[in-house]
Amino acid sequence: MTGTGRPPRRLAIAVAALVTLVVVGATWVVDQKFLAHATPPPGVTLTDLRSVDQLRSLFDADTGTPRLILILSPT
């Protein structure tokens, strides 16, 4: 009966280590897949749209050319 406390303690340590490993791994995956800074191809830039009037000006400046507006989300 002298060793009755050891197996549960070892089990608890093993479980804690496993949980830590899973949390660290999941955090890394989420960071890489969903939070990391994406890199656009060279020469492709993103401009902030401040107002609908800005889009209106761009649209009218390109009169004479067929125009396609796409509304997209990055992910």
């Binding site: 969903f34 939070l35 800074h37 994406a38 890199t39 656009p40 191809p41 492709v44 830039t45 993103l46 401009t47 902030d48 749209l49 107002s51 609908v52 889009l55 209106r56 761009l58 649209f59 009218d60 390109d62 009169t63 004479g64 050319t65 067929p66 125009r67 396609l68 507006i69 796409l70 509304i71 997209l72 989300s73 990055p74 992910t75």
Partner: protein, 137 residues
């Protein structure tokens, strides 16, 4: 879905009509849980005729839904196609075609944009063919 639509536009429209005049405004907005400006990578839309604009608040999408006559898309993952003569002065001209999602409406978009691209082949970017009456004068 949005990325599929962007990729489709690049490969099926832009790459197959390299000599055609077309301006694409790609408005990127914040709709899904992990969307953000830093997550933007152009989603394969790399043609020089594409202008990328970050519209985190979806100003344009909401405006189109609320105000654009004849627009049949949603406020994101949507498209609106306009001919060369369309103007947006006080009101925006009705689109020739519109819909959402982009990839789900690709057949409709391809059918509508095809004649516009064929008609504009061979014109140099930035030039607009003058009307016959102007040429005669």
């Amino acid at each position: 879905m949005c990325r599929d639509g962007a990729s489709w536009v690049q490969h099926t429209i832009l790459e197959r009509h390299l000599g055609s005049r077309l301006r694409v405004y790609a408005l990127w907005t914040d709709k899904l849980p992990f969307d953000s400006r830093r997550r933007w990578d152009a989603a394969e839309l790399v043609d020089r005729r594409v202008m990328h604009l970050w519209d985190g608040g979806d100003l344009a999408g909401r405006w189109l839904v609320d105000h654009a006559r004849g627009f049949h898309g949603g406020d994101w993952d949507a498209y609106a196609l306009f001919g060369p003569d369309a103007r947006w002065t006080t009101t925006l001209a009705a689109p020739l075609s519109s819909g959402s999602p982009v990839i789900g409406s690709s057949d409709q978009l391809a059918a509508a944009i095809g004649p516009l691209l064929t008609a504009s082949v061979g014109r140099a970017p930035g030039t607009h063919r003058p009307r016959a009456s102007t040429m005669a004068a």
